[in-house]
Symmetry: C2
């Protein structure tokens, strides 16, 4: 790529943005210069998406731009943080104006929604790959963590599960709503902040419920019992599975347990705080469903509504990009 | 790559590190949780290195591990910042234990030297590419910036110029010292911090002196006169150029002006503060050479010792990764 092409790329990322007062210098110096508010802790998450690994080749540029930021905001949500700044490293084989327009518009649309300012980054030539780092704040000592669950705590998830996984499995044949779930995951920022002081532990579901709940429980060497008929499934998910062949129908139980890419939150709430959860539930922009309970015995045991044990065939799905930061 | 391979990779990056008190949670949760010291501003820099673009294919893993962090620390140096934390996104085609050992040892050696703790990141499978974000602190209002130079300010550079560019040009045929300059750039962290309150503007030289000094001057629409015989060159550089063929000898003037990858600092000092610079010079771990003066007229004019104007053939070298953050 020539200098001119780099200039073209940069133009797409220097558009007017929400001008945060805590950004002293954004793009344009050797580094960004930022001001932390008093009494807050800094929360940082970094995720990379690689072409053909984290999204199928040919995925719309807008979906990639949205997702690159969304997966990082989802990590901030799982910490109960308020998003503030992002940096973006974009590696591209060529400067394609249509692609850049689609990517940057979706990236900024999501950034604007959460008041996030792009403050820096890098542009390089190479195989398509995107790394985003998101920065947020959380009041000192109030962050949600993976550790902290106790025996008897109730286990919840936000939104619905399995939709993104089903879309991935149907490879473009899924209906619009499921495809939206895969391409435009919604970070549960408001839920994460609302759950501060209520949830005893939290994690976002990027590798699948079993895998991520497993990460949450392993910190305190605990286990769980899940009621798998209670797992929240969208109407589109249930309908599509019902209409599918035998191979698809068998996914009614497995996908919500094992599929990544939903980016919902999974969290635990002590019995004593369930009343508080009930009182804030109305404020949330998404549903919040109780799916099980934390137990002393290690491992995750799944039960059907009739009490029968469900023999899991699926293991927690782990995409290539499984990260130490979920 | 399998889960096991990802576990192997992660093992190389979870070794014992300097345990900074301001790291509440490093690797192992959804995001890192960090504490900013009072009265400081946060400085963040992000740079990506792509195989075959920012380093020749076959470059030693140790050199890549060092450089990925060094180029980011160099950006912090140019802001006068004290480094604190880093995040690392590593995209690898495969989990090669030898490569990982070399890369991680060099990365941590440099991190340890500056008290930097690796607090998070991501590991993905794909074409070799490394993104690092470095975080540092600077006392509020005391950062060095690209803007701020005034007519009559003296222009300085740290260390020596052209060595890394010569090694790149000789493609492995350079002597050990020049090759070291290319493979193991030394971020001028102490110089950056010492220059706070003395330098009126600063930038690190990653794209070549002419290009980067140009970035510094363009902020205030200024120009400069450089004395190109005064540009600091190492003995190894001068010796190698002298012994080279005609094509190499012509680089005696051009390379220090145009070659990137030296990662020295270029900065300006008002006449009134030259005394202060003289008094702190002894503390610096590198030389500090006056090379010219800031002028009103835009553009950079180069002169030989005999006063003759040097007709620049070289334009500021711009590697693929030329970034909005230098």
């Amino acid at each position: 790529m020539s200098d001119t092409e780099f200039d073209i790329i940069r133009r797409y990322f220097t558009r007017q943005q929400p001008d945060r007062e805590d950004v002293i210098t954004g793009i344009g110096d050797d580094a960004a210069l930022l001001q932390m508010p008093a009494g807050m802790e800094l929360v940082v998450s970094m995720d990379t998406l690689v072409d053909g690994v984290h999204f199928p080749r040919g995925t719309a540029a807008a979906a990639i731009g949205h997702k690159a930021l969304a997966v990082n905001l989802s990590d901030l949500a799982a910490m109960g943080a308020e998003p503030a700044w992002a940096t973006l490293s974009l590696t591209l084989p060529e400067a394609d104006a249509n692609w850049l327009a689609g990517f940057s518009q979706a990236f900024f649309k999501l950034a604007d929604r959460f008041g996030v300012q792009l403050v820096g980054g890098d542009t390089t030539q190479g195989p398509l790959s995107i790394t985003v780092q998101a920065h947020g704040f959380v009041p000192a000592g109030k962050s949600l963590r993976r550790r902290g669950a106790q025996v008897g705590d109730h286990i919840y998830v936000t939104g619905t599960l399995g939709g993104a996984g089903l879309a991935l499995q149907l490879a473009g044949e899924a209906g619009g709503e499921l495809q939206q779930r895969l391409d435009y995951p919604q970070p549960r920022i408001d839920a994460g902040q609302t759950l501060r002081g209520i949830a005893s532990a939290a994690i976002d579901i990027s590798d699948g419920l079993l895998a991520d709940l497993g990460h949450l429980l392993e910190h305190d060497q605990l286990g769980a019992a899940l009621s798998i008929d209670d797992l929240p499934r969208s109407a589109a998910f249930a309908e599509t599975v019902k209409q599918g062949g035998a191979d698809v129908r068998s996914q009614y139980y497995d996908l919500p347990l094992s599929a990544g890419d939903d980016y919902e939150l999974c969290f635990t709430v002590p019995e004593a705080l369930r009343g508080q959860l009930a009182s804030v539930r109305q404020q949330l922009s998404c549903a919040c469903t109780r799916i099980g309970i934390v137990e002393q015995q290690a491992g995750i045991r799944c039960h059907m509504a009739d009490g029968k044990r469900y023999a899991m065939t699926a293991r927690g799905y782990r995409h290539f990009g499984a990260s130490p930061h979920g």
